[in-house]
């Protein structure tokens, strides 16, 4: 009766294999950056998390638009789950960012464009989750969330531009650039991105299967209510 959800399973296996190799790639295979030392190794997890966050929020916006257009429940489920998994990775970015910033910039938090954008996105999608929990009717909540998901996504480039512009008024902080890097670091980095993508997909598919089960439960509940009402009807005759 408990059907295995195949994509979640497949991506989960791939993610596990990747995760087993990732520490080797990050710590042994990739060379040591001479200024940042081990702190630079945080990037192999931090930056892929940020990529997955963007993918999650972008998927949320796409499914939200599809939901508003088609009004099909399944798009709402996908939008909600994408937002939640995006928020998970967003949280990871926010947690690991300061840990990198402390040794390198000497302070836990810097209002740099990237960090600020991540924080704002986190706030917007926490509001998205609140909209989910504080709504009285699930259908209306789905529409409202879809609207917020789209607005939040449209806001992304504007927040980014705004914080970039804002920072020029303040001392510019030089960021560790992970792309002009030696080949070994690049290979390790892309390996980690791929691994995180598998992890992201595994979590997303799993989350969707749970949400679908929840949905099924709700429909069985309402069916039972119907049946009880009919039985009660017969009894009263």
């Amino acid at each position: 009766m408990r059907r295995p959800y195949i994509p979640a399973f497949v991506f989960g296996i791939l993610a596990l294999i990747g995760l087993a190799i990732a520490p080797y790639m990050a710590l042994m295979y990739a060379g040591m950056e001479k200024d940042m030392g081990f702190a630079q190794k945080i990037f192999y997890y931090h930056v892929p998390s940020a990529f997955m966050m963007y993918i999650g929020f972008a998927l949320c916006a796409i499914f939200s638009a599809l939901y508003l257009y088609k009004k099909d429940k399944k798009y709402d489920i996908w939008a909600l789950c994408s937002a939640e998994v995006g928020l998970l990775f967003c949280t990871l970015v926010l947690l690991t960012g300061p840990i990198w910033a402390k040794p390198i910039w000497g302070t836990w938090w810097v209002w740099d464009a990237q960090l600020t954008l991540t924080l704002m996105l986190w706030l917007i999608f926490v509001a998205y989750m609140m909209l989910h929990s504080y709504s009285e009717d699930s259908l209306q909540s789905a529409k409202f969330r879809a609207v917020l998901g789209i607005i939040g996504f449209l806001d992304m480039p504007l927040i980014h531009y705004a914080t970039k512009l804002w920072r020029t008024h303040h001392p510019e902080v030089v960021r560790g650039e992970e792309f002009g890097l030696p080949l070994d670091m690049k290979i390790a980095f892309y390996f980690c991105v791929l691994t995180f993508l598998m992890l992201f997909l595994a979590i997303l598919f799993k989350r969707v299967s749970v949400e679908k089960a929840h949905d099924e439960l709700e429909s069985i509940k309402s069916e039972i209510r119907d049946r009880k009402a009919i039985l009660g009807q017969l009894g009263s005759d």
Partner: protein, 54 residues
């Protein structure tokens, strides 16, 4: 071994966070299946002995 403590902290936080999320997800799933089983059982009983009107 420069900054190895920071790196370890960051890695641990990532794995703990993902693990916690997964445990939470597993718990949610378990709750749903349990409730579903319970409902199926009452539904089958309901077929033979009509429930009270709600």
């Amino acid at each position: 071994m420069q900054y190895i403590g920071y790196m370890t902290a960051a890695y641990i936080i990532i794995w703990v966070a993902i693990l916690l999320y997964f445990l939470n997800l597993a718990k949610r799933e378990k709750d749903i299946w349990e409730e579903l089983q319970g409902l199926r059982a009452t539904l089958n009983r309901g077929e033979s002995t009509p429930q009270d009107n709600v």
